[in-house]
Amino acid sequence: MFGNYIGASNPRFFGGLDADALAFLTAAGITDATITNAINRLVKNYKGLGDLNNSVNLWNVTDRIIPLVGGTLTKCGYDLKTATKLYDFFGGMGVNSNGITGNGTNSYAKTGFIPSAGGLNYTLNSARFGVYCRTNVQEDSWVMGAFSTGVLDISNLLLRSTTNQTSSFVNINNNAFVISNSDSRGWFCANRIDSLNSKIIINTAISSGLRTSVNLTNREFYLMARNANGSDANYVSTQAAFFIMGGGLSDANLLLERTIIQAFQTDLGRAV
């Protein structure tokens, strides 16, 4: 199946195909050599065993990795961390080898990822969720997240509003963490590693603000929209090429994760 795998001839892939990479590729039915090598490198780097000169294991503090590869919604529905099909798509969702594209009207994905359910790295005071976006779109729409009844227990991410702002909630009730930003392309990750501060990384720039955590939402995260207490709402029209959900990271590890994801997108020829 993986006859085109180039591991034996490339020092970067010494040690062969990672078992978790193989499990994902097998489950999703992906045999393409470029994707195989990119996924293998991604997994090894997430585990601190790759070529990016890191020994940090981000794999074990990440709950979901959604690489959006393969060019079909079926293949994009597979989760790398669990090698399982976890994501279901709705509405007029576009898909190609660069990822998925919302229509801004009714397209979104369900994840089954419920922060309050427990058993996750994602907790009240250690949480992160992020997206790699390939298009520069100005819209007051939320690329991922959920909130509970009464618009409480909010975890949402907005990339670029009509007023040129990036906005995030990480386990809070109000007062979004907002920073100026006029480009929705690249890596965005909302993050928290304590009860007091909320952070966001946009590509390599990290910003921090005082936002005290309150509660975990009991609603599942949606992608390309947000789960408004059980209803899909606020759909984006951007193109997404990667999502993650997991525990919070230090600044150094946020930057490391961005480096890993950027390398993955470059390997696939779809970096921005």
Partner: protein, 69 residues
């Protein structure tokens, strides 16, 4: 943006139905008790059972203002 107008009865027929592999129709409530689906959902419908969506009335979609905060 063009969308296609559905009655409540038509909306109910589409609920839970995959129009392509791993993507389900998502009728959205719109004005005056009507519902809509997107152009992509209509264009990619191949099941003859749901071919009637090709004959739905087209309208220009006016996006409601989202909450950015």
């Amino acid at each position: 943006m063009i969308v296609y107008l559905l009655t409540v009865a038509q909306k109910n027929q589409l609920l839970g139905v995959e129009y392509i592999a791993d993507c389900t129709y998502n009728p959205l409530e719109y004005a005056n008790g009507n519902w809509i689906i997107s152009q992509k959902e209509v264009e990619q419908t191949n099941d003859e059972k749901f071919a009637w969506v090709k004959d739905l009335l087209q309208i220009e979609y006016v996006k409601p203002k989202d909450n950015a905060s």
